[in-house]
């Protein structure tokens, strides 16, 4: 009894929705904090911060565990949600001829499945654009390089293009034919085949280019405006999903109390607005500052 109750009963399915949903809310916070590097710091500093963040997110073992939990959550949340939506549809084979649901419930609460599906599509596109490129694309990722202006011994101004590396205490590694990149980010002396450092993938550049801002004269996405609008729309959808989803998860988990529930609801609403707005503002600012 208990086994099947935990796995298959309607309430258990709801639990899983709530638990995975709340976990994904946490993920959103982490993701947003990272993304904000894109706008809080500008220029080379911001670029470094963001690429370091991107590296950290793909290499830290703890983050890795979390990220797998996130993938599983997304999959589970989607599959479970889809199953529930189908069951719910089946529970009313004949619909009302005349229905007025807005009299007793919010549109957001009634459209969770549609909103969720839209978010899922967005996630797929989003991952194809950034995450997949970062991790698996066969096209070589751009490497984070930067330009240093200085004067040479003769006092003439000169510029050097340097790799931004993990070991900044060493001698800066310039981009020149002596250095080759292996395995995406490893820098080797061409002649002696000695590794001299690890460069960063330049996700920052991809993001900037995607949303229309050229860094160091790199080519940009010609559909950037479209991308920005789509991104902002997706965040609006997310906002509606969260407006109901956040407090709903607490209710499902049985955390309903006269004293605390109003605060949870208010917090949920704020969360549902602030977090997606935070995400949405980034591409807008990038686009505007192009």
């Amino acid at each position: 009894m208990s086994k099947s109750a935990i796995l298959s009963s309607s309430i258990a399915k709801k639990y899983w929705m709530a638990i995975t949903g709340l976990f994904l809310c946490l993920f959103l916070v982490g993701h947003l904090l990272g993304n904000l590097q894109l706008i809080f710091k500008t220029g080379e500093e911001g670029r470094r911060a963001f690429n370091e963040y991107a590296y950290f997110m793909t290499h830290n073992i703890f983050i890795k565990v979390l990220s797998y939990a996130t993938y599983i959550s997304i999959l589970f949340h989607s599959a479970d949600g889809l199953m529930l939506a189908i069951q719910n549809k089946k529970a009313r084979p004949v619909n009302y001829v005349y229905n007025n649901p807005s009299a007793n419930s919010s549109a957001a609460s009634r459209k969770m499945a549609v909103l969720g599906s839209a978010i899922l599509i967005f996630i797929v596109l989003h991952m194809a654009n950034f995450w997949w490129k970062m991790k698996y694309s066969s096209d070589p990722m751009p490497i984070h390089t930067y330009v240093v202006s200085s004067t040479d011994q003769t006092g003439q101004p000169k510029t050097d293009t340097l790799y931004y590396t993990h070991t900044p205490s060493l001698q800066p590694i310039p981009t020149n034919p002596m250095i080759v990149v292996k395995n995406g980010t490893e820098l080797y002396f061409k002649d002696v085949n000695v590794k001299v450092g690890d460069a960063y993938k330049d996700l920052h550049k991809i993001v900037m280019a995607f949303f229309g801002k050229s860094v160091n004269g790199a080519p940009t996405n010609e559909y950037a405006l479209f991308a920005v609008i789509l991104y902002v729309l997706a965040m609006a959808v997310l906002s509606f999903h969260l407006i109901h989803g956040f407090s709903s998860a607490f209710q499902t988990l049985g955390l309903n109390h006269k004293k605390y529930t109003p605060s949870i609801q208010v917090f949920g609403k704020i969360f549902a607005i602030i977090v997606p707005a935070g995400f949405a503002i980034i591409p807008v600012l990038i686009f505007l500052s192009r």
Partner: protein, 254 residues
């Protein structure tokens, strides 16, 4: 209260029997007193139909004072009509205006199949109750004295509020998922709040939820529509309480 009379147009779901295909029929009804209840208006319609030698509209009703839970109409897109906290029998025609078109449909849910016209089969609720909605105490009267176990007033009041459910099914009808969680939550809560019910709390919640699922009700998505439309104002807290009870039971049951 000065009586007023209005003329209305009714769009009523007519369905000969469970297997027949139904459809909306339109009727004009004149001189409806605004002091009449909605069901008295339906009586008036039926009287008109009978005088035209047509078959009257079948609908469930009994006490007509908002407590038996028989009446069950979906009126203008809402369970029990436009007022909140009201059963159809307590809805009065003063809530409508002269010239209004009023849609009247049966509850819609797989678990509540239509029997005829506006009459649906709600025996699924009975079966949920039979699965565990009771305290297994014999009816001998040889229990302990009623005052032997004091019960905090707050708990007793909350149990009463949950027990005030009239089993009308408006929660299911109005829920976009046809979920019965408010009904079952109220039952589970009533007993979970009282010391007499705690003994069997685990089995009760598991069995009642299992039966609820078997009956084909949908899942709760916390839209809160049920709470708004419940004629007795049963709170969503009861669903949360059931969720807690269920988790406790599912995790600890052997």
């Amino acid at each position: 209260m000065a009586s007023k009379f209005i003329n209305i147009s009714l769009k009523v779901w007519r369905q000969k029997n469970a297997n027949a295909k139904g459809a909306i029929e339109t009727y004009k009804l004149d001189n409806v007193s605004t002091d009449s209840s909605f069901l008295e208006m339906m009586d008036q319609l039926n009287e008109q139909l009978i005088n035209e030698r047509k078959e009257p509209v079948a609908f469930d009703h009994d006490c007509r004072e908002g407590i038996c839970g028989s009446c069950s109409m979906y009126i203008n897109g809402r369970a029990h009509g436009p007022e909140t906290g009201t059963t159809t029998c307590q809805l009065h025609m003063r809530s409508f205006n002269d010239g209004d078109t009023v849609y009247v449909e049966p509850w819609r849910a797989k678990a509540f199949p239509v029997i005829k016209d506006l009459v649906v089969d709600r025996s699924a609720f009975d079966r949920i109750q039979q699965a565990g909605g009771f305290v297994s105490v014999n009816t001998s009267g040889r229990t302990m004295d009623a005052n032997a176990t004091p019960i905090p007033k707050d708990d007793a009041d909350k149990a009463f509020e949950a027990a005030a459910c009239i089993g009308c099914g408006a929660c299911v009808a109005t829920c976009k998922n046809s979920s019965a969680m408010l009904f079952v939550g109220a039952k589970v809560s009533q007993y979970a709040l009282l010391p007499q019910g705690k003994v069997e709390a685990k089995d009760r919640v598991l069995n009642m939820v299992r039966q609820m699922d078997e009956e084909g009700f949908g899942n709760c998505t916390n839209t809160g529509a049920c709470e708004v439309e419940c004629p007795k104002g049963i709170s969503l807290e009861n669903i949360a309480r059931m969720n807690r009870e269920f988790l406790k039971a599912a995790l600890s049951a052997e």
